[in-house]
Amino acid sequence: MPDNSGYYHAAYIIAVAIYVLYALSIRRRAAKLRPSRPA
Amino acid sequence: MRNVFAAAWLIARKDLAIEFRTRSAFTASLIFALLGIVIFYFAWDSTAVASVDLAPGVLWVIFTFAGLLGLHRSFGVEQEERAIDALLAAPIERESIFIGKALANLVFVAGVQVVAIPAVGMFYNLPLGRVAPALFTVAFLAAVGLVVIGTLFSAMASNTRLAEILLPMLALPFFVPIVIPAAQATAKLLSGRPIGEALPWLKLLAAFDIVFIVACTLAFPFTIED
């Protein structure tokens, strides 16, 4: 079996990071919208 | 229906008259195309790539960008002193405005092609004579596609804050299915293959033209209504 786990790990780390960062970016934008009231 | 085209013809003539009197955009696009031909020559290792292999790419990259240069002016010129408002107030169909603008742009792009294709033939020493009719057919079909897409997006882009920066971003993805068949058909013709080999590409171009002439004409009123 070829050892290419570097690609495997990189792909999953990047994909999960993008999902998480995007979800957080929506939250941040929503929070900025109405600082006084809960969204 | 006849009125639609009569009004479109009036608009096209108005645009062409402006262009003919100032000649600013046409000259700029033409010089841009000629400069492109020169730059491409020096960006290319002539011992490694035959000119016949390079020419289709050169031609189509140049037409795409020279077209963009001219298309932006199409509605940009109406923004000055809000000339577009007078155009919209005129008792004509919105479709006429689009068809007229597109016709003027087609003359514009075709004008660049009429000069640029022989220029490429001369500078790159291509056997143009025999294939010229077929080549101009390809160029015309491609120009129609470039122009309908470009005219619609020019109308949209001229109303945005980004204006001329936005037009290439909107239009270039749509130019890809034009440039691929056009460059491929040009390559077949220039390398002396029978015209039948270029036919599938011509059909694809024609199909693109039909679909997007209809779609863009129908979509245009949405881009200007108040």
Binding site: P2, S5, Y7, A15, R29, A30, L33, R34 | M169, F174
Partner: protein, 222 residues
Amino acid sequence: MKVSRLSIVAILAGLAALVRVVFFTPFEAIQGPAQKIFYVHVSAAWCAFLAFGLVGLLSALYLWMRDEKLDRLAESAAEVGTVFTTIVLITGPLWAKPVWGTYWTWDARLTLTLFLWFIFVAYIILRGAVDDRALRSRYSAVLGILGALLVPFIHLSVYMFRTLHPKPIVAKPERPSLPNEMLVTLAVCVVAALIILGALLRARYNYANLRDAEIDSGGAHA
């Protein structure tokens, strides 16, 4: 801030899919660990195509019914779709390099995905460049519809480009029929990605609604 129930389900589904891929799916003998990229890649790709279809559909519906909600949903689908397409375009080459021997080939599907990304990005930039809300909705709807019309042409022209051209030297193995275990993992990942798509879409749509409501009530954001 509260986290919605759908978001919690999406987080759990994502974690479950990740655990399934990492710990409960065997390595493929020939392709090695990199083959596992397939799961995150394919599931994101399906969601990306789905989002693109949604943008086209919602655009047409907007021009027909002129309901601002449709436009905000299209706006959300485009942004979420861009995220999925970005993941597809990053994980794809990372899988292709060890398996095919090259990061990229210009085959019809890869090229199409790249152009979906370009159109999505142009759509988002266009929205950002128009201040008038009604105008912005119409412009983006027009782009959404034309983008949907463009897809078959890109696919056909790239497909013809490839078939009428000499094939590249890069070996492209036929897709092997997946053993059951891997098929289940793929199904888990697709379901998880669809739930994540739904959760992101809803969160983004809620945000768009709040934002426009605030503008309507004369808030600070213009």
